[in-house]
């Protein structure tokens, strides 16, 4: 039995009342978006399944506080980014290579070029791990997700000027580190096997 799709307002209202059908519909509607943002913020070495779960638990627990002043997607991104940043902070407290080992992406199942790109992605995220979470979030939302400063401001709850300042310092820090770490030198060592196969 298939129910007719509700509009977003009705869906949010249903979730606020705790209706399971509304929650289910909401989940189906936004799960891809949530996973996409979480993946971008945390990188390929994250346990995406757990993050998505945490985000939706947080969303359904706190949807009562959603006043309707912003778009639901903006609010959802905010929850998502906050949960992801909590994970980043946790990861920083336990830096013993835990995240690198817990790799859920079997590198062998993708073509060689994608494999090489994934290794590069790992290096990018490894550098981002050294950047303060707030700056990291702004950097990722701008450089990787492609949001404007205004949109980012709504998501992270800061004004545009603050976002631009954070972005400026994040860029500076990130690209400095890229040059310092000799990024492409690292890539060529990790990608030797891939290069040989091509």
């Amino acid at each position: 039995m298939r129910q007719t799709a509700r509009n977003t307002g009705e869906l949010v209202l249903g979730c606020q009342k705790g209706e399971r059908t509304a929650q289910s519909e909401f989940y189906r509607k936004y799960r891809d978006e949530v996973a996409r943002i979480a993946y971008k913020v945390l990188g390929p070495d994250s346990d995406l399944e757990d993050i998505v779960q945490d985000v939706f638990v947080e969303v359904f627990r706190s949807i009562d506080r959603f006043q309707g002043n912003a778009k639901i997607t903006t609010w959802l991104y905010r929850v998502c980014v906050n949960v992801a940043l909590q994970k980043v902070r946790k990861r920083k407290r336990r830096p013993e290579g835990h995240t690198v080992e817990k790799d859920d992406f079997p590198t062998f199942e993708t073509p060689l070029r994608a494999l090489e790109r994934k290794d590069s992605a790992r290096i990018v995220y490894r550098i981002l791990d050294d950047i303060a979470p707030k700056k990291r979030a702004v950097f990722i939302l701008h450089e990787i997700v492609g949001m404007s400063s205004k949109e980012i401001g709504k998501v992270v709850g800061a004004n545009v000027l603050t976002v631009r300042t954070r972005l400026h310092y994040a860029r500076k820090e990130f690209y400095h580190k890229v040059l310092q770490a000799e990024l492409y030198g690292e890539r060529s060592t990790t990608g030797t096997g891939a290069g040989a196969g091509q």
């Binding site: 638990v57 859920d104 860029r171 890229v178």
Partner: protein, 490 residues
């Protein structure tokens, strides 16, 4: 790599971001023409920026959406009302502030202390500490998890809308569960506490908190097994003006034609009227009581016929339930020829057997989990009675032990080389290999079955199988894992 000129790195980053003033940008570009270090650094920066943009376009890995959804509901039902974990940084800040405060207070006391010391030398002793009564444990709302569904069982929520009871949907307080004729359902809400609802019965879960639980039996019969509740806890079942109160026991409450029958198999229960009229009766194990609907006097207890009947309530080990619920609650069934009356008659959470009922004849049954084919087989149904079939558990496919996963990942390059060797001959070669690998406690591979090979060239599969057979996993629990390897050329 040659380093860029001293002090130029920030300018190069600004140039790349487009935030450098035009005149300064022109000057830097001119400088780069004659400076290989700066030029190289700028190229690397722009390449990295390009790479970041490509990351934004990368496809997401596939996720077990239904499993995640089930786990979200599970967590909502079991942790609702709990405050969110306080971030460690805030705790640290709080601890720091508290320490500073305490030190400041000590300094103030040390400086001002003697001036305050005005109390007489033989003042009444001051009670420094008094015994603090233990803080009451906060009540937590629970959710009942269906552990067995047989036949048509409906879940009716507070608004009155009903839907079929599902193994992956916990039942919260305020809901009712109703079984049709010939159907049964088991629910569990704590380790060792649950109920078995008989056919043609209906029960309302009025209150389901960690310490107090209350059910109302509307019709039919319910069997309950209850773990001992914490001090001050209370469990009660009401049925037609008769309340049965217990502290931890196994018993049955049934509504007959004009009476409410309570049978006790373990422990002791107290049977009392909800609106007065007669005095309470205590019913020990092996006894029962029959209370008429309009009872005016206390009913008498009588010994149960047959002594202590086996009172089975389908309970499972609590810590495993969330995982089991997520893995077995998502089964769907399709039968061929389509249109045949075939249904999942009974599904046990975490179990590997399914009971099927339907039109007599030969059915090709396909079981799907998370939309993926889990099992496929012919089933012969002879009559109206249900038939039980065993299914392969899928747990091992969902939660691969970390040590196994890590080991396979580290050696995946060996499998990849099998593929790449043949890819050179056929650039279009792509496919999927799925292996069932049996690993003993010493980590040795005792068996490797190639379950799926979609290559159309068996040599890749054979090569991979030989590679896997040589693997030696870290010692641990003996397991059987199913692992897919997917290969596609760019």
């Amino acid at each position: 790599m040659r380093p860029p000129c001293r002090g130029n790195t920030s300018k190069l980053i600004s140039l790349m971001s487009g935030s450098l003033r035009p005149r300064a940008a022109d000057r830097l570009r001119r400088h780069m023409q004659g400076c290989p270090g700066c030029r190289e650094a700028f190229e690397r920066l722009t390449k990295t920026q390009q790479l970041c943009r490509e990351l934004g376009e990368e496809e997401l890995p596939s996720l077990p959406w239904r499993k995640i959804e089930a786990q979200v509901y599970w967590r909502l039902a079991h942790t609702e009302g709990e405050p969110p974990a306080r971030p460690f940084s805030r705790l640290l800040a709080f601890a720091g502030a508290a320490t500073v405060g305490a030190l400041a207070a000590l300094v103030v006391v040390w400086v001002l202390g003697p001036r305050w010391a005005v109390a007489p030398r033989h003042a009444t002793p001051v009670v420094v500490s008094r015994p603090v009564p233990p803080a009451p444990v906060a009540e937590r709302e629970l959710a009942a998890v269906p552990t067995m569904i047989q036949g048509d069982v409906q879940l009716i929520d507070e608004s009155g809308s009903s839907s079929a009871l599902r193994l992956d949907r916990p039942v919260t307080q305020g809901s009712r569960v109703a079984t049709a004729a010939g159907a049964r359902a088991a629910l569990q809400w704590l380790e060792g506490s649950g109920l078995l609802l008989s056919s043609s019965s209906e029960v309302e879960i009025r209150r389901l908190m960690s310490r107090t639980q209350q059910l109302e039996l509307e019709r039919g019969s319910v069997r309950l097994r209850l773990a001992r509740l914490p001090a001050g806890g209370r469990f009660a079942v009401e049925a037609r003006g008769v309340r049965t109160v217990v502290q931890g026991t196994v018993f049955n409450v049934a509504i007959a034609q004009s009476t409410v029958d309570v049978e006790v198999y373990q422990g002791l229960v107290r049977v009392e009227p909800t609106r007065g009229g007669w005095t309470d009766v205590e019913v020990p194990s092996g006894f029962g009581v029959r209370v008429p609907f309009d009872a005016k006097v206390a009913p008498t207890i009588s010994r149960l016929r047959g002594g202590h009947p086996t009172a089975h309530v389908h309970l499972v080990r609590w810590p495993d339930l969330a995982r089991m619920m997520a893995s077995t609650g998502l089964l769907t069934l399709e039968s061929h020829p389509s249109g045949a009356d075939l249904m999942l008659d009974s599904t046990l959470v975490g179990n590997t057997t399914l009971s099927l009922r339907g039109d007599p004849g030969r059915h090709l049954v396909e079981l799907y989990q998370d939309g993926k084919l889990l099992d496929k087989r012919w089933v012969e149904l002879e009559g109206p009675e249900s038939k039980t079939i065993r299914i392969r558990p899928r747990d091992t496919m969902i939660r691969l032990p970390e040590r196994i996963h890590r080991y396979i990942k580290q050696r995946a390059v060996q499998i990849r080389s099998c593929y790449e060797r043949h890819l050179k001959r056929n650039p279009e070669l792509s496919g999927k290999l799925t292996f069932r690998i049996t690993i003993d406690a010493n980590g040795e591979v005792t068996n490797t079955d190639l379950l799926t090979d979609t290559f159309g060239d068996s040599r890749v599969g054979q090569c991979a199988q030989i590679v896997i057979q040589r693997w030696a996993f870290p010692p641990g629990k003996a397991v059987q894992v199913v692992y897919p390897f997917i290969f596609r050329p760019q």
